[in-house]
């Protein structure tokens, strides 16, 4: 018998965790001398009150869906892929290579090419830590952290020495050609009131497809079953004839590929060139998103939306309440990771007891 109903596990506990994180963040805002409720109102209004706000909220959410799914897939095989930052940066490199080397006739073809390029580069960057974990037992968390730093050094080197436009001081690639311009929300649905420069683009749809794909993979395929089995019990999975090396490699390659895909949104869809830090911490947000979303694509989608709102709302907050700096976002993000990830048992145990007591009572 389960200790508590399923809805409590997937909805009530994350909700309480989120509430705790927001309450503590509110205390920080209060300490600074501003009203938390007013700050909240500004954030919500800034994120979803206008078409402009939605354009940014969903743009950020797209990034977080990709990185969140990446962390989630690795979680299912009980691996903590903390290297989303580096994998997404390499994904950006993949997008840049694809977009700059081929004169694409139409954006749809360019998008397919960029999807392949970013996923391949992201997966390749995850492949080395995965191989070391599978074959040599090197802890994947440490190696992926190291690979984040190596990726950022590599990217700086390439942008300064290889990709930089001759005569320009800025360490970035040339602007991608017109043929790779992804239609944004204005191009697709101008009647919704999006402005011409809105960053939300077709990558959002790709992200939704990725959610469905990950769901189908994890819960509807043999491979997904094997990944979950391996995540639940490694010895049990080996006993059942599942090859651990194969599971580690495949799940990490998928995870790295998903991280890399983030670049089609940020590099191809928004910046249209590769800049020095194309990821902007989204790889780490993916950890919070996957934890909150309980590693389920629907949960990841909703959590990514929430973080998209936080990021866009936070930008508005900085504008309207200058005493609250943008880094408040990092605090909220940290508290969400802390309460949903590390302090989960703090909430879970009392809630379980409560449900047990209620059951006995009835």
């Amino acid at each position: 018998m389960d200790k508590m109903p399923k809805w409590a596990d997937i909805a009530l506990i994350p909700f309480i965790n989120l509430l705790l994180a927001l309450v503590v963040s509110g205390l920080v805002v209060l300490y600074i001398g501003e009203s938390p409720l007013e700050a909240m109102a500004i954030m919500v209004r800034g994120a979803v009150g206008t078409a402009y706000g939605w354009g940014y909220t969903l743009y950020y959410a797209t990034n977080f869906i990709f990185t969140g799914l990446a962390v989630a897939v690795a979680f299912h095989a009980r691996m903590f892929n903390i290297g989303g930052e580096g994998q997404a940066a390499l994904g950006g490199l993949g997008v840049a290579v694809v977009c700059l080397s081929i004169p694409w006739p139409h954006w749809s073809l360019a998008l397919l090419g960029a999807i392949a390029g970013s996923a391949a580069f992201g997966a390749a960057w995850a492949a080395i830590p995965a191989y070391l974990q599978a074959k040599r037992g090197s802890h994947i968390v440490i190696t992926t952290i190291m690979f984040n730093f190596i990726a950022s050094a590599l990217l700086v080197y390439l942008l300064v020495n290889v990709f930089r436009v001759p005569g320009s001081m800025a360490p970035e690639t040339a602007r991608f050609a017109e043929g790779t311009h992804l239609p944004n929300a204005y191009d697709i649905a101008p009647w919704l009131g999006f402005s011409r420069s809105t960053p939300l683009n077709v990558s959002f749809l790709v992200a939704i497809v990725a959610c469905v794909g990950v769901w189908a993979l994890i819960w509807r395929t043999r491979l997904g079953y094997e990944i979950r089995a391996y995540g639940h019990s490694q010895t049990g999975a080996v006993y059942a004839g599942i090859n651990p090396v194969r599971i580690i490699m495949i799940s990490m390659l998928i995870s790295g590929g998903l991280s890399g895909l983030m670049a089609i949104n940020s590099v191809m869809g928004e910046a249209e060139r590769l800049v020095i830090d194309p990821v902007q911490g989204a790889g780490f947000v993916g950890i919070a998103v996957a934890l909150m979303g309980r590693s389920h694509p629907v949960g990841v989608f909703l959590a990514a939306l929430l973080f998209g709102m936080l990021y866009q709302g936070g930008a508005e907050l900085e504008f309207e309440m200058p005493s609250v700096s943008r880094e408040m976002l990092l605090v909220i993000q940290a508290l969400v990771i802390l309460f949903t990830g590390a302090l989960d048992n703090m909430v879970r145990t009392p809630v379980e007891r409560l449900f047990l007591a209620m059951r006995k009572g009835s």
Binding site: L338, G341, N345
Partner: protein
Amino acid sequence: MDFATLIQLLDSSIRLATPLLLACLAGLYSERAGIFDIGLEGKILISAFFSASVAFTTGNVWLGLLAGVASSMVFALLHGVASITFRGNQLISGVAINFLAAGMTVVVSDSWFSLGGRTPQLETSGRFQNITLPFAEQLQGVPILGPIYHDLISGHSILVYAAFLIVPLTWWLLYRTRFGLRLRAVGENPAAVDTAGISVVRMRFTAVLICGVLCGIAGAYLSTSLSAGFVREMSAGRGFIALAALIFAKWRPWYALMACLLFGLLDATGSLFQNIRLLGVSVPVQFMQALPYILTVVILAGFVGKAIPPRAGGEPYVKER
């Protein structure tokens, strides 16, 4: 390279190795007790901020150090509560602590000083001064040894000497005392320690708090000795390099010293020489910056001496019933 440049390079290596060494030893206590800590970075950062701001407001660098250590210990305690009391995931807790520090330092410093995530520049009284060792001036004229003593060994802040003294202290504590034996045992086989009637929870909390103290000193060194004030993200990945050094040293104190000096030397070389030519090939600065991480991956891969972490590391201890 002439002798003076060499001395300058080594001197700068020592300065840059000090925060790494303190953080590396901090991680050593925690991980030897079975608590993974990827939150070293965050604890360094929070301490750097609090020591700089308290040193600025009071004009007393020692009060600054105290505040920095206290703030770092609060974060260490948080890590302990999450990973020992509530048996949460230690890695996730560490990630949260890093973000909390990165965010809080900027949010609070903006509110206190309104300088865009910085503290004001520290005056002389707010910083640790460099100490001139006895006879350093008199011996300066002696060839070779004179400059080594005067420029390399003498003339660092007290925290540098403290950091280097903590290495033998840690070795002694770990391998020559009952406390050290228990600490190591709790990281290898907590059940055995528990059977012997020693509280696993208490040992682990002690280790985590020692880790907090040392990270606190590392942070204070960054903002009140190496530089004069706090700037956002000033830890700049040092917590992770320290983690790398810890693996490189295979969780042993003397090797930790060697690893940190090596990484300090790499850092110093990278910042002293913009262009390094090795065997006719110019080595990019970025490669020098990435080298500690690359070396760690190579070590982790086990091709050059395998690094085996404490066996119970990362797993919460659950008493059998």
